[in-house]
């Protein structure tokens, strides 16, 4: 069992992610009512939020240093924040502002941060090969940093998943592949898209450990990831971890979710991983009620400040669109 300090850190991390994502829900709606228009408001475009999937991000990234490379997906905020990305620069990028990570060029699906060696891609599974490349560079450079690639269950049916696992295994690279199985790929349930129940079993095909974290519990994730990260760092090669997690919101904001029942959505809300974990911490005394409330309050203050920063920041000059095509 991790120390109480670690447990409290995991809790704090998950709470600030949740509050950030919930703030995005309302910011995203600004300018889009009464008639929803995806192009309108301070935050236009697609918005994929990770409320419910905090345990994966918090539990894995707790083992990482800023120099470890992390690649993520179209649903990247939870991982980015857990890996230490500056929340204000993240928010500013989402608002398309000059102070954003990419001066507004990337947007919410294309976040790149040199401070935390973070990158993501909106193309399913395509963050995986680059993670292999980060690991290859670390090995060639003699660094003991590792690479972690987050991806969804849907990505495990892409060629890039299989090619990346094989390459990382073949070259014995320090990569941890983290599959967040939220049971859905947009409207397609996993059992209608994947021939086997657990993607962790696919590790065997490449001779690497495949570990299943069967529920959305940050401690279980933390423990599984601890082993995989240590193994990668000491030169033991890649591993695959699959985490059964919950997507509490739509695939993207504005998703009518006609493909799943209200009962399912209510059930997921009821078993909210943060509330369950928090309850346990209070029960065991790792956290008292005042401490718990303080975590939520502090996270609110942090998120409000980041969003205010993003709101107040200027847009980049329109003609700056032509910059940065080449180095």
């Amino acid at each position: 069992m991790p120390s109480d300090d670690v447990l409290r850190d995991l809790h704090r991390q998950m709470v600030r992610i949740r509050i950030f994502e919930e703030a995005m829900v309302s910011v995203y709606q600004e300018g889009k009512t009464p008639a929803f228009d995806i192009a309108a408001g301070p935050v236009p475009g697609e918005m994929h939020l990770a409320a419910g999937q905090e345990p994966a991000a918090a539990g894995v990234c707790a083992h990482l240093r800023p120099s470890d490379a992390v690649t993520a997906t179209h649903r990247p905020h939870h991982v980015a924040l857990a890996h230490g990305m500056d929340m204000s620069r993240l928010a500013a990028e989402i608002f398309g502002k000059d102070a954003g990570l990419g001066h507004g060029k990337g947007g919410h699906m294309h976040l790149f941060d040199t401070e935390t060696n973070f990158g993501c891609s909106g193309i399913i599974a395509e963050g995986m090969p680059t993670a292999v490349g980060h690991a290859l560079a670390f090995k060639k450079l003699g660094r003991d940093d590792i690479a972690v690639s987050f991806f969804g269950d849907g990505a495990a049916n892409q060629g890039a998943f299989h090619e990346s696992l094989n390459l990382a295994a073949l070259w014995n690279l320090p990569v941890v592949f983290v599959c967040e199985d939220n049971a859905w790929a947009i409207s397609v349930p996993k059992d209608k898209s994947t021939a086997i129940p657990n993607n962790s079993d696919r590790g065997a095909a490449y001779g690497i450990p495949g570990v299943l974290v069967a529920d959305n519990d940050p401690v279980a994730v933390y423990e599984a990831a601890g082993e995989a990260v240590a193994r990668a760092r000491r030169g033991g090669g890649p591993s695959l971890i699959e985490i059964k997690t919950d997507r509490l919101l739509g695939h993207f904001e504005g998703d009518p979710q006609l493909y799943r029942t209200k009962e399912e959505m209510d059930r997921l809300r009821e078993r909210d991983a943060i509330r369950a974990f928090e309850g346990r911490l209070v029960e065991t005394g790792a956290l008292d009620e005042a401490g718990r409330d303080r975590v939520w309050q502090e996270a609110r203050v942090e998120v409000d400040a980041a969003i205010e920063f993003a709101r107040q920041s200027p847009y980049p000059a329109p003609e700056s669109a032509l910059d940065h095509v080449f180095a």
Partner: protein
């Protein structure tokens, strides 16, 4: 005399209706793609089909574009008429081999013996801040590669007729619909995305351009959503006494070169508008066609208004700086006619 009531359909409904009618007529037609079932396609192109035809003919796929687009190629060779949907054209990167090395080449490699009668549908276009990986049009890239037809409807009427033609075609057809022409409730409203569409099946021939507005002063040649923008610009210009002819190319392969030449014969001036990247693409091809076929008729060098050669930025002011729009089209047309 009875006036027939208008049957107003959005472009997305016109497309799904075309597919449904062909599925009823021909049992070998079926649909495959991500979220084409219950969801009805992210952009509505397959709405209602699952309820009508069931999961055997409207198949949700895993996120395995190489496998299911390749499977469409194989199924087409073996007697089916598949319609496969690549959700956004930007995703071609993960499956291009099946598209250009297989779908587009098998007929030729077989010396004409093997046919690949399939439709690959895909969504194109930006303007709503979806960033560099979800906003491209890329029609020029596909049109560059021999062996597949490339179709780009701009209206509900054309969308239905071109879809039926595409399904009946014995060749692979890439059918590219712009998200902004679909008439989706969650996109910026576009009155030109809803129009009168006949209920009974009909075809619009692939390879025949259409003059969407006649005019004698300048030809504005374009495709897809930019046809709407060009029509808006033409209205403004008409108020200033400039008569713009809006030529909707409707397909890039085959390209109706004669229509380009004919229109330039009439107007003596050519403006090409393209939401695709500027260099090595449609704009260059259309202008070359005019120079080859109507050089002596041109009163001014042809002009192109295209997307600059940069990846598509997310931030709204940056994206709109890059995108052609009605105002920029009108400005370019004024300059071209010298006013």
């Amino acid at each position: 005399m009875a006036v027939a009531a208008k049957r107003l359909l959005t472009t997305s409904k016109a497309i799904s209706e075309a597919i449904a009618e062909e599925m009823e007529r021909d049992p070998t037609v079926f649909v495959m793609g991500e979220d084409v079932g219950v969801y009805g396609g992210i952009f509505g192109a397959t709405e209602g089909l699952l309820a009508k035809f069931g999961p055997d003919r409207v198949m949700d796929t895993p996120i395995s574009e190489t496998a299911f687009i390749g499977a469409a190629v194989g199924a087409a060779v073996s007697g089916m008429r598949p319609i496969a949907e690549l959700m956004f054209v930007d995703f071609f990167g993960v499956c291009m081999d099946q598209i250009y090395n297989h779908m587009a080449k098998i007929h030729y490699e077989s010396g004409g013996n093997v046919k690949v009668p399939m439709v690959l549908t895909t969504a194109i276009g930006g303007g709503y801040s979806d960033g560099a990986q979800h906003s491209q049009t890329l029609h020029g890239l596909f049109a560059h590669l021999p062996g597949m037809k490339v179709v780009l409807p701009s209206t509900p009427y054309d969308a239905k007729g071109l879809m039926i033609s595409a399904i009946r075609d014995d060749n692979p057809v890439l059918y590219m619909f712009h998200k902004g022409i679909m008439g989706l409730g969650w996109m910026t409203p576009n009155p030109r995305a809803t129009d009168d569409v006949p209920e009974e099946p009909y075809t619009v021939p692939i390879g025949v351009a259409d003059v969407k507005r006649e005019g004698g002063d300048v030809t504005i040649a374009t495709v897809s959503l930019m046809v709407h923008r060009a029509l808006d610009a033409a209205e403004t210009l008409a108020g200033e006494g400039i008569q713009a002819e809006v030529l909707d190319l409707r397909s890039l392969v085959p390209l109706d070169r004669q229509a380009i030449v004919d229109s330039v014969h009439k107007t003596h001036r050519l403006l090409v508008v393209d939401e695709d990247y500027r260099s090595f693409g449609m704009s260059g091809e259309v202008i070359t066609t005019a120079i080859e076929g109507a050089f002596d008729y041109l009163d001014a060098p042809p002009v192109r208004l295209a997307y600059p050669d940069v990846p598509i930025p997310y931030s709204r002011p940056l994206e709109h700086f890059c995108l052609p729009d009605a105002e920029k089209i009108a400005t370019a047309a004024r300059e071209l006619v010298g006013r």
